[in-house]
Amino acid sequence: MESRTRELLDEHMRENYRKTSRVFSILLAAQWVFGILLAVVISPRSWAGLASATHVHIYAAVFLGGAITSLPLYLTLTRPESLATRLIVGVAQMLWSALLIHLTGGRIETHFHVFGSLAFLAFYRDWKVLLVATVVVASDHLLRGIFWPESVYGIADPAWWRFLEHAAWVVFEDVVLVFACFRGIDEMRSIARQRTELEKTFAELERTHQIVTRTEKLAAVGQLAASVGHELRNPLTAIRNAHAYISKRVLKSNAASDARTVQFLGLQEREIHACNRIISDLLDFARERPLDLRPCPLRPLIEEAFSVVTARDGVDLVNEVPADLPVPALDKDQFRQVLVNLVQNAVEAMPAGRAGTVRVSAAGSAGDRWRIAVIDDGAGIAPELHARIFEPLFTTKSKGTGLGLAVVATMLKRHGCSISVKSEIGRGTEFAIEIPLQTPSAAAA
């Protein structure tokens, strides 16, 4: 977050430099025009008797003034943010003070331009600019004091401390302005900090909003799925009943000799069963079944799960759960569903044509964590998908609702269990379920 604050601060300061440079580009140009006007109005010609020539002030205003303005004007227009621009502007502005003082014949009032310029330069909020400007003023004073002392002090031999008197006023203003610069920068820093906080908060808000939207969508889908699923059950039952009746009657009659009739009756039954399976998947996912925790021996449970799973040729189901494993407390129906889904997944993960094994093992004891693992040597799951496979409606298969593993995740969560996946493409996958500490008697109580 600190780096972002610095970024924002730098941005803000660069913007400030740009804006101030733009002001100075106008000011420097205006001063040049003004200087020329002054010379033209006040001192256009110098005389010798009747003869006159263009006053040096005109040349000074046009050429010296133009020279002073040239480089800084160019820089403020092309490189408004750079340090060099600021420093050169500082130098030029103070030189303009001097020139204007000369053009107005040393009027006291024009000397105010010096202090006004320093204040303007402070808009850059950069102490270096003030330093350079002050150096210019000081050197001008110093050099003229050395070479043309009368022009500075009005007397031939000024006391050494006269220089300090003039310097003191400038330093006084400098101190105030530098202080103001740092204050300004502090304010900008705290603004940058606040903006960073705001950005962070907005990002979080955006994330939360997305999560909420997704959750709401899922809930809506779940509700829709549930109501559709429920609605479908009655018609499906009626179809099933009718099919059963027709099947029984037809198989007893002459039509049984027609191979297709028999085949299609079987087909009807299977497809009805498939419909049923899909609806059950949907409803299992949306359903909130309360847990009936009872002591549940694992090895027989896995045997039951194996008996439900649609087996495949060449895929062996191996129950490696030791028979003497202690008995955890689980909701038998729901846990069986979890195992069925995982084993079914493992069976389907076996690539076609290859033989494979699905192993289920378990370990643990009362007073310790239980661990059930479903291991297959099938196609494996890519690492980037590991987090997504438990998402509802996510599937890599061409058929299927994508709810199998989501149901597993939901049911396990309700049990307070966790599930993790380890996989290598081409080598196989291992799903590991961790059942937390509990004793059956405590759970059943």
């Binding site: 005389w47 008797g49 009747l50 003869a51 006159s52 020279a67 014949g105 040393g106 009368e150």
Partner: protein, 202 residues
């Protein structure tokens, strides 16, 4: 910044600084270039027709009516007269060269002097009086005491067309207070009173 453009930028800045410095120095030298000054006579010129006011020290200032730098001298004159507090009476000789058109001398400078209480403008045709007082440059100031002795001869500005405290002012005031000064003179900054063909340098 690439190396080439960096070098270019550095040289541009250096050139700029040089130009500016040169320009400023040239301006300074012009501003501090003193005008021509002659060694004055020690007493009020006898042939002068300028009226003297008895009981007062006299200040004579030679001025070119159009010289812009003389504005500063007049400002200083005003201040000086105020500081002198009635001890000084000033006469400003506005030199009108031969051949100048009608009303050439009627400038804001003339009107300004006319408005000053302790000073009066005087038209000096062809610079005759200025010549008597040995003034060559606009702004040349001469101060004489009541007996007619010269107290001061020089300029009362610190630089050309520059108002503000000057060496001349200090010397004049000191002299009025009675100090005996070794070299009561100061550089004069201003336009030449005479045209170039007569020796004047603008």
């Amino acid at each position: 910044m690439k190396f080439r453009s960096r070098a270019l930028f550095a040289s541009a800045t250096a050139a700029w600084l040089c130009a500016v410095f040169a320009g400023t120095t040239a301006l300074m030298r012009y501003k501090n270039a003193a005008g021509a000054q002659l060694e004055p006579a020690g007493r009020w010129p006898a042939e002068s027709t300028v009226a003297r006011v008895p009981g007062r020290s006299m200040l004579v200032l030679a001025a070119h009516p159009h010289c812009p730098c003389t504005r500063a001298s007049l400002t200083e004159l005003d201040r000086l007269l105020v500081r002198a507090g009635g001890r000084l009476q000033a006469v400003v000789l506005f030199v009108k060269p031969r051949g100048a058109p009608e009303g050439w001398e009627d400038t804001d400078l003339w009107r300004r002097v006319a408005a000053m209480p302790a000073a009066r403008p005087l038209l000096d045709v062809d610079g005759v009086e200025a010549h008597r007082f040995r003034a060559l440059t606009s702004g040349q100031t001469l101060v004489y005491d009541q007996e007619g002795n010269l107290l001061f001869s020089g300029g009362i500005t610190s630089a050309r067309g520059h108002e503000g405290n000057s060496v001349g002012r200090g010397l004049i005031l000191a002299a009025l207070d009675g100090a005996r000064l070794e070299h009561p003179t100061a550089p004069v900054f201003g336009c030449a009173l005479d045209s170039p063909e007569n020796g004047g340098t603008p």
